[in-house]
Symmetry: D2
Subunit: 474 residues, 4 copies
């Protein structure tokens, strides 16, 4: 068996709608609204009640969907959509979702946000039984499970889901229904709404509901399957809900500020993170500035709490993107200078507090700090609205190679030295978790603290497989 | 189960090479040489000895392969390539080959020329066992067979092939070997050669060998598997050869004139068809002209045999292709006039014999005949170098909708009337088969005479399936 | 004579550099930095000291310049660049700049920011003398003047400029020098800098200098020509400086916040506009929110002055651009909702002050106000950081059709009604002009007050032409 | 003054039509029909009776014109079209025609086939008078002449043409008329026809008339202007016809075989060239084969005259084009082998006569001869249907760099040695000219014999210019 590569891990966005004449366009709009959840690929699958068809492609939504393509999908009554995140260098179009397949039950299309930790063992089992695979995604395994259980079980979907370990918010489109699923731990967000035409829909984030003018109804419950068809909406459980493991990183960094995630609006949480950060790391200074746009909410909270004036000291250039042709060696910092322009009057002669939500590789941040210094900053105090990220995520966030994460091998002091700042403070774990409303142990903070809710050691060994096989194909 | 659509039938070209440092470029060149065997899609899969990767796409070879793509494939030691034929309106990129899949045996890529008549029944069986399908091609079924038999059989490929009914010339690329297969009836051509670097290769037609500077070695035998790996070349049989069913249409119409097919050079056969046509249908005339370029070889034979002067009376415009923007209603014949320009001096005042290799829908031919008439032709005698096509092909040639074939519902006289010619003669079946060297019953002429070597009635019914299942998964 | 169409008016950005080995890439980077000054087209002309070549195209910088194109331009020592603004529906690639032409003096390339009010009369004169025109830009007229005066005048450029009436910041690239020109009224900004390699450069805005790591040297003076060549930099005057007519709209709306324009940093001026707005239009409220990103600086100033809390209540979707496929009729507001998402917690139950820098057509603003109302806003008070725009600009800003500007035919009360807000206040003219450092009559505010510094009545009539001709070709 | 580069010389195709509702599509179809006259660029200009618009672009017709573009041009009553030939490496989109310009007389679009030998001197004169140039084409000079003479002459077009020296077939489109012009020597072909809708049209070759279903009316006379407008068709002379200088190369090589050029059908002339070649260079052989497709007509003539059997021994691959990605160094001949496949049975053991219309650089021909030799040719006798090309053309044919033409520096024996053939014969000058109907001195054969009808020494020197200027602007 050849392995499923790292790109199997992904943070993504899903959407689904049933029985709306604008289904394809709603999915398209939702893809835009959730574009921040994945820029590697985008796709839509539609059903006209009889046949499914799909269009997927690499790149941003406008690169994947032309008017002609969207028109072709528009004669439909239901749709699902998927945004996929780009990992470094290994993006493959075959992995783009929704995956559309045929099996004994007919056609099915699936979109997945999350990551299965037992995908490899399941795949191994199926390959041993003669199944073949087209992609390296864990999502394809789910369809094999579904197909295998189709004839032998009364509710093949429930049976399928009971074999999955990990994080998953799923949308399944069949010719006659939409099935919406959230894992028993509630790792990733998933919400229900109703469109202006009165149709039920589901999305990863409420911002997608807002974008299409839909009303928020409720979250999909952990361990719940919601079925939407011409007969209406119905719900069943496939598992008892577990102690929740909501991904705190959705609040800190990932989700849209205007979304309501795990019951709280992201921007409000971020403002609180900034307030807490001010409490924990007070310093005398003249001005608080955000790193745009990522640090703005926390910076406002910081300023509010500390009483230090909030100003915009860095202006982003919105036109600079991945197509910028890199300058020569001697001009290394050009791209950073071009992307972020300093407002000298705000910086010159002042003690500056800069607030951001993360430091990833450090080189870009260091270039920014140098720019501030050249613009006359007397002191620079960098404040980060979460703890250092020092552990891999197995549940759907694809961090860069840990070797490249600045915090994995450095102390905070060493990072401060590297960045050339006068002081550096990361928000504490307790501080961070005190800003959200659920109990602290209802969140997964494993990327910060290394505590995993499920056993993430790779269980692929012969013994396990045989026992598992026994259980699975009994 | 949703059906495999008509596009499952195809005429195509395959190529494979093992252990040549130029493998990717050889495959690319072979795709060009065999482009006439399929213009819908093209693809190459390569192996570096460990991993396989593939690039496939819709369109002609230059549309599918850029320098960048070809460079990416070039660090490899082996390759297979595939040209796929375009059927009307139903081309889908998922069906482009080679198909690359993973199974318990590792990665495999497959290219297929031909058509399986029991693909539907096999697919149904696999879907019942929980397998899922991505494409509507019969080729995907072959990989399911291979995967299913991997653990339970000593030679899974032999086992796999024994389940296939129909025409198939196949190339399989594994990480460590190339397997080249021809069905027991020898329906489609398949030849072996050696590249200038001394590597073994295989191709549908010898023209591909010529194009890459390879030497012809021999045909792959019906019922033979040829394995090419770092250990060299070896051969085994998976079936006793049957009474051959070489597709006569390859000679009449489909293959490249310079190719040697079933032991004979196509152009020489076509000249003989023209000679025979002259014998069968002599008429007094002033000049023999070919319909360029399809009728040229037969026209030369016709002229030689009849003693009537051969001239070029129609000049093709090589720039007019599928991107020509159709004119308005009132200018219907513009495209035909643009594509074929008449040389008036050759036509004016003369009795003309026009030789072509087929009449498909009739409307284009009629427009051409009108042009000749307007150019002053006194008489027009149309001669076709094969019998009328009146039956579907189940073995790899995808004729247009039979309802649109002019000969299915008309007598030769009616066709002559429709086309507006003074006389029309199709070569007889016996005449045609007398021009090739093997015994007449060693060819499949089913599209002309409706006699099929295998039972082509669709065997998909419950009873059959159960008996088949019993036999297959015993 | 066929007319020069409306697209002759434009707001644009220019750049020039001489004697830097990275000239082409510097120009490319400057185009990105000044992209906000024009998104219709972009172009670069380069000189290797002997020959000039240019590449121009429609669209954003990354759409116009590929690595291959930029490489082709890179073997050069000097470059000019130009961003052109998109007007509705009439963009033509022939009008893209820099314009590259040949005349008796050799090759010349020109980039122009501004608008000539006597371009039509000059063109008419030249057409009467047998000259031919390729574009509808006023810029082409300048080259005709230059060519006409080449043999008869010792300083043809000075002679040329003395015939121009209107706003113009110009860069001329010759094979042996760069000439940088600003009109005698200083309508548009134009600054000089030095690159990291020590070469002199010029740009419309200082943000372009920052982006390429260049140091700001000084503004080009009104009425000055700066010549940069291998001999260094020199300056001469072609006209006495006039009473300045700096475009106040650059500060209010057009320039980059981090740029220093007419001696003041734009963002600081905008904060002052917000403060002044708060003074002029105080109202009891719970929160001040900006319309992102255009109203942010002024909103911060407003909040600071009023003491009312500043919060971000609207989150922009940065992915929605001109390629968004419009929804159906019934979903009219989707694009607005998608583009700007409301943070309900900030809005719900609150009295909101919304600050923006303009109201153009009104329909989009109205949709945004509806969104805020739906999100629970108790009161909405809209504050605009400049007076209503009620007059056309003849000096380089291309407003939309006046008939579509909401303020041209409505009172402020009527606009408030249309937008559905509880109160609406535009900053007063005096208030606005009190926020900048030069005397009030050193600014052009004609779009607000209709007072034009030059006679803008179209002087194209026979009498004028004859007198003009007499003077020009004496 | 910077020079007009070599690309000013071109062989091209022109077309024009007035008062046909399908004008744009007729021009588009004519561009296809005349594509062989130029593959560098293509363009169409149309008039709706008031305004002109144009679309031009680099590449083949289908690359330049999409349905959208053609639709945009379709609301018109008149059109001109232009095909431009590709010279090595120096193609520039600005040089694509028709050129569309504005002058005191309004808009004009011009398409030009031929070459002016006094373009440089005229351009110099205009640059001295302050005119500016956009392109390096001689065609632009013509518009400057037209504009200069507009006010001062009663018939500015006649005045303009009287200043032109060289070869020119021209189409001028104004808003109210089409003017069609042929130089006094009749260097290039130009014919009149009537479309199926009864409108008058003009084209370089009759094949364009055939393609659009138009009837041939007559040739445009040397020295004639034909005006087509809503008032009908009229004719005037601008010069006495001179002793004709019809380009013999049109017959030998350049024009479409089905076209009637200078009163004779090209293919018939080519057959005669082949017959003459057989007379001049008889050799014992077994078979005559054409180099496809260029040598086919002459080879048929050769076979007919010599009594030696004609066969097709080389099969071209029609899919190999300029996008073929070149193989590695070791595979140099791959492209040739791929492009031309040998039919071994025709060649093996035989003495072969190969007929072609030219040998350009020799390397490709040598590779072909090697292929024939490898296929078993016992003797190879190469026959070329024109004399060796040893002189540049100044009248509209753009040969490659003379240094690269194999015949410029080699004797026929040396060429035969280089190509590796057993014998080589070029048709004699007298032999060639005996195959066409007009007197021998009515043709320009300067590329073969170096005798130029006009003085082609470059007259650009100060003295000449002053005398010329005196005469021109008196």
């Amino acid at each position: 068996m050849t392995g499923m590569s790292e790109e199997a891990k992904h943070k993504c966005g899903v959407f689904g709608v049933w029985n709306d004449p604008d289904s394809a366009h709603l999915a398209y709009t939702a893809l835009y609204a959730q574009q921040h959840r994945g820029q590697e690929s985008a796709g839509i699958a539609v059903s006209d009640g009889k046949l499914l068809q799909a269009h997927v492609g690499m790149g941003l939504v406008p690169e994947v969907f032309s008017t002609r393509v969207l028109d072709r999908l528009s004669d439909s009554k239901a749709a699902i959509g998927h945004n996929r995140y780009s990992t470094t260098g290994s993006s493959v179009s075959d992995n783009a979702q929704p995956l559309l397949r045929e099996y004994i039950g007919g056609q099915v299309a699936v979109g997945h946000n999350g990551n299965l930790i037992n995908a490899l063992v399941l795949r191994e089992l199926y390959e041993r039984r003669g199944h073949i695979f087209r992609t390296t995604t864990d999502t394809e395994v789910i369809i094999h499970l579904l197909a295998s259980h189709h004839l032998s079980h009364t509710d093949p979907l429930v049976e399928t889901l009971q074999h999955l370990q990990g994080a998953y918010s799923l949308v399944f489109l069949f010719n006659d229904r939409l099935e919406v699923v959230r894992d028993p731990w509630g790792w990733r967000p998933l919400v229900l709404g109703t469109t202006p035409n009165g149709a039920y829909c589901a999305a990863s984030e409420t911002v997608a509901l807002d974008a299409i003018g839909a009303k928020f109804v409720r979250e999909v419950e952990p361990g719940e399957i919601v079925t939407i068809s011409d007969k209406g909406i119905s719900s069943r459980r496939f598992a008892e809900p577990q102690q929740p493991a909501h991904c705190i990183f959705e609040h800190v960094y990932f989700a849209n500020p205007s979304s309501k995630v795990f019951g709280e609006t992201v921007q409000i949480v971020r403002e609180k993170l900034g307030e807490k950060l001010a409490e924990e790391s007070h310093v005398e200074a003249d001005v608080v500035i955000p790193m745009p746009d990522s640090g703005r909410s926390a910076a406002l909270g910081y300023a509010r709490q500390s009483g230090i004036q909030f100003r915009e000291g860095i202006v982003p250039n919105r036109y600079v993107g991945r197509t910028f042709i890199k300058p020569t060696q001697d001009q290394r910092n050009t791209a950073v200078q071009l992307k972020l322009n300093v407002v000298r009057e705000v910086i010159d002669g002042n003690r500056i507090i800069v607030v951001d939500d993360s430091v990833v590789r450090g080189t870009t941040t260091r270039a920014k700090m140098e720019q501030l210094r050249r613009a006359g900053a007397k002191e620079i105090h960098l404040r980060i609205s979460c703890p250092p990220i020092r552990n891999p995520c197995y549940f759907g966030i694809d961090f860069q190679d840990p070797a490249q994460l600045i915090a994995t091998s450095r102390t905070v002091e060493q990072i401060a030295d590297f960045l050339g700042v006068d002081s550096l403070h990361y928000l504490t774990l307790d501080g961070m978790l005190s800003c959200v409303k659920h109990p602290k142990d209802h969140y997964c903070a494993s990327c910060f603290n290394g505590e995993y809710r499920l056993n993430v050691d790779n269980p692929v060994n012969k013994l396990d497989l045989e026992r598992y096989q026994l259980k699975m194909f009994k």
